[in-house]
């Protein structure tokens, strides 16, 4: 497939679906790992390897993770809420691409506020929500952030094409008539 064919294949909608699929895979992995562990389907080494990609982005403290069939999820409840909300937002952005208007900035602040409050309360006063409540509180933040992310992702093919077309090496190669 040459560059132009690839360029025309990567449409905003397809890119949105690909991003949503990646997000779904990442989110599902956090819950599938403990499910498979509970069935004895994973050896300790494989289980460790599967949990490894989640380690740099989450503390994975067992007490802060949701319990899935007696095993803790691969990420904490807050991250799980952000991922699940984000996946839902990206799926909606892909499904309704072209028909969905990006929400006003005010909704971003409203959606993120409960997560910020929970985090600040935990850091300053050492109090926090139970794990399931924490997951629910972070769902809107992930969802609304993903709607904005969806708009950015959908605009990527156009932005890349524009950057290539306006690159000096490309514009200078156009023959000029004398």
């Amino acid at each position: 497939m040459d560059r132009h064919a690839l360029g025309s294949w990567v449409t905003p909608r397809r890119l949105l679906w690909m991003t949503a699929a990646l997000a779904a895979l990442w989110s599902a992995g956090a819950f599938l790992i403990p499910m498979l562990e509970s069935r004895g389907a994973l050896s300790l080494a494989i289980s460790d390897a599967l949990r490894l990609p989640y380690r740099p982005v989450c503390h994975q403290i067992p007490a802060r993770c949701l319990d899935v069939y007696g095993h803790e999820a691969a990420v904490c409840a807050r991250c799980a809420g952000l991922y699940l909300g984000g996946t839902a937002g990206l799926i909606l952005a892909a499904a309704l691409h072209g028909r969905l208007r990006t929400p006003a900035r005010m909704w971003l602040a409203i959606a993120v506020a409960p997560t910020v409050l929970d985090f600040v309360a935990g850091v300053i006063a050492g109090v926090g929500l139970p794990e399931m409540a924490r997951l629910v509180v972070t769902l809107p933040a992930g969802f609304v952030l993903a709607l904005f992310l969806g708009e950015g992702v959908a605009d990527l093919p156009r932005a890349i094409r524009k950057a290539i077309d306006t690159h000096p090496s490309r514009t200078s190669s156009v023959p000029t008539s004398t």
Partner: protein
């Protein structure tokens, strides 16, 4: 009327360096492990905001997709600043955050003993050349990935529509 796009480097360096340096400080690193690399996402978001302001000042447009580029560059500077500050702090004071956190983790009955052993071992080993290289690589990869996401979100939030061409003069 558009005067040409502003440079991406300045907003990317400012946001990446400030938030990267913050995330290397003890205490602030909690933002990364407890809120999904929010300081790296924030670096991309802030870079998009600064770029959008500069675009408005110059009368240029700023589309959401362009936020990815601004964010990615900010992520590189975030990674470099984070790794430098974190290494300097560890060399000067040791791993203060881990030393502070260890008693709480040791008192936590749900903490697996093998994880505690690994943490104790890492604390005793301190800073080595390999740990610094690993930290730089991880910070660069994470910083670029998450700041690109932040840049895309910021691009959608702070986008600037292209200014309309001047209306033709009617004689």
């Amino acid at each position: 009327m558009e005067q040409g796009r502003p440079g991406m480097l300045k907003p990317a360096i400012v946001s990446g360096a400030i938030l990267g340096a913050l995330s290397g400080l003890p205490g602030f690193d909690l933002f990364n492990c407890c809120t999904c690399c929010s300081l790296a996402v924030g670096a991309g978001f802030l870079a998009s905001y600064l770029y959008s302001r500069e675009s408005i000042r110059r009368g240029a447009s700023f589309e959401a997709g362009l936020g990815a580029a601004v964010g990615a560059i900010a992520g590189v500077f975030w990674g470099i600043a984070s790794a430098i500050v974190s290494t300097v702090v560890q060399l000067a004071f040791g791993n203060m955050a881990m030393e502070w956190l260890m008693p709480f983790l040791e008192d936590n009955p749900s903490m697996p003993p093998e994880v505690l052993d690994r943490l104790r071992q890492a604390l005793e080993e301190g800073v080595s050349a390999s740990s610094v290289v690993l930290e730089i690589v991880v910070a660069l990869v994470l910083g670029t990935a998450f700041a690109t996401i932040g840049g895309l979100i910021g691009g959608a939030v702070f986008k600037v529509a292209p200014s309309a061409p001047p209306a033709p003069r009617v004689e």
